[in-house]
């Protein structure tokens, strides 16, 4: 049996906190029809949440750029490789 969705919304109580949560769900699994309506209606009417999502995009871009730059130094890699070889003997 399909588990019941734990998080139910009432349109008149739907706020920025719920939109932030649904934003994560949207990125991962996607939203159902009712959630899409609530999310996009909220986003259209809330300039703060639009800013929040825009900032998250910028942060994600910077984390991805940061990740591309991080590599283990060649000498350190060599040292680790030698340690592994010595321990295999």
């Amino acid at each position: 049996m399909k588990p019941r969705e734990e998080y139910k919304y009432k349109w008149y109580l739907f706020g920025c906190k719920d939109a932030g949560y649904l934003h994560e769900k949207k990125q991962d699994k996607g939203l159902n029809f009712g959630e899409k309506l609530l999310y996009y209606f909220h986003m259209a009417s809330c300039h703060l949440c639009r800013k929040y999502v825009k900032h998250l995009e910028l942060i994600k871009k910077n984390i991805l750029d940061y990740a591309l730059d991080i590599k283990l130094d060649f000498n350190k890699k060599e040292k680790i490789q030698k340690t592994i070889q010595n321990n295999l003997k």
Partner: protein, 191 residues
């Protein structure tokens, strides 16, 4: 007998960079400690290679050892207590800090996202290392690890949920809390 065979001589070439990146992120940019943990992980893996059952891939197995090493590192240094999902709401980052429950969970007046102008965006790009590391320090280890798996390893939600033994809604809650806190910290550093 394992279906997947371990190949320790290839570990450095295949996994060292990814593991280092992950450790570097989780250790807030401590390059020496990250390098030491990668080496320790390989040594521990060699010691217990008999226990490798081949159910998960070699990479998943090595990352599981690395994650334990990172938790041990924090435990030893007592930089931040390991957070379990049970005490997640007791962390100083409750969503009520950012959203006002009296106003249907709208942004709290003091925590409303502000406009970032182009010079601030440039500053974030230029100083991303120091800004991100200082802000990542504020996050619990488990959250950082989940964020790293989402962004750096590009893992899918179900895989992360399975590894951390959490439900999808807990995963979205953690990411939400993580990002709300990270965003505000970055904004404070930019302003």
């Amino acid at each position: 007998m394992s279906e997947i065979q371990l190949n320790p001589l290839k570990w450095t070439d295949k996994y060292a960079d990814d593991m280092y990146r992950y450790a570097f992120f989780c250790l807030n940019g401590d390059a020496d400690a990250a390098c030491d943990l990668v080496q320790d992980t390989f040594l521990s893996a060699l010691e217990k290679k008999e226990t490798f059952k081949g159910i998960a891939s070699e990479k998943t197995w090595l990352f599981a050892i690395l994650k334990n090493k990172i938790s041990d590192h924090y435990r030893k240094k007592k930089i931040r207590k390991e957070t379990s999902l049970d005490d997640i709401s007791e962390e100083g980052t409750s969503v009520h800090y950012f959203y006002n429950p009296q106003k249907n969970g709208r942004w709290h007046k003091d925590h409303e996202p502000k406009e970032w102008n182009s010079s601030e965006i440039r500053l974030l790009e230029k100083e991303k290392y120091s800004i991100l590391h200082r802000c990542l320090e504020l996050l619990p280890v488990k959250w950082k690890s989940i964020l790293a798996e989402t962004y750096l390893e590009c893992k899918k939600g179900p895989e992360i949920c399975k590894e951390h033994d959490i439900s999808p809604s807990n995963y979205w809650v953690i990411l939400h809390r993580c990002k709300v806190q990270l965003r505000e910290c970055i904004e404070k550093k930019l302003k």
